[in-house]
Subunit: 143 residues, 2 copies
Amino acid sequence: MFSKTCEYAIRAILFIAQKSKQGVKVSIKDVAKGIDSPEFFLGKILQELSRKGIVKSLKGPTGGFYLDDESMQYSLADVVIAIDGDKIFNGCGLGLKQCSEKQPCPIHKEFKKIRSDIFKLLENSKLGEFNDLLDKRLAVLKR
Amino acid sequence: MFSKTCEYAIRAILFIAQKSKQGVKVSIKDVAKGIDSPEFFLGKILQELSRKGIVKSLKGPTGGFYLDDESMQYSLADVVIAIDGDKIFNGCGLGLKQCSEKQPCPIHKEFKKIRSDIFKLLENSKLGEFNDLLDKRLAVLKR
DNA sequence: TTAATAAAAGATATTTTTATCTTTTATTTT
DNA sequence: AAAATAAAAGATAAAAATATCTTTTATTAA
Ligand code: FES
Ligand code: FES
């Protein structure tokens, strides 16, 4: 579904969101441990998300990654688009160069519905809204 | 969503299904042209589908690939599983080692629904059922 | 103002996916 | 039987994704 990069990105940002709510910034190393991802690779991913303004960062001691109230309002769809692009939301399920109503692939109609469901799910999931779930350990970011 | 390999596989098998219904076997080259895929790469894919019994093949002049009535009953889900495995149907959307009800990832509930919708769509699509659509050019396999 | 910390940036390496080319085997037609 | 055809099999190559390591820059604390 998503690239590995994107999976790490989502888990990382939810981890950072949770910590930010508690008012603490986290280092790459902390996040990597928190979501069980390769540290240096994650560094690159967070760098990219930072460039795109989805996550905030500060260098130096007491520095790290965090989300401000504004960033908290981004959705998972924003993260996915930042990393994997919008292919999953607009692309043809059978790999035709572009999805088209006029010349649809055989599964166009059904696939369109699914794409749209995925988009809705992600678009309606704001980064901040999983904090409680995670705090209560009703959901996890690693295992 | 699917790997490129899998996209080619699905388009190829629907192409072969259509031709088979008309009673003709098709060569790799014909299929490659029919779905606009790299010929040699497609060869490998059909080889694999043939090994797994989803498509039939015969060597030599008048040979080629075809689907018999039995193969026509396979579903798109069978093709996807043969090529990409069942990760898309069972795997965790955020890349946790395995999906779990007990220790779900934050989007588990919604993602499970989507996975299931995808499975239903593919499982309910038998290879033979697109022939008419393709004959009438209400759907295409290349563009 | 120096040392320590942590992200940013850049370079390199590994693995997987995608693609291509060559040789062999099976089958058919002449 | 020989020539032609087409898939199977095997080898190799190119590109993309994933992962790691090193150097630089910004910031803080001592
Ligand atoms: S054309 Fe394939 S999904 Fe729209
Ligand atoms: S645990 Fe992630 S989808 Fe089930």
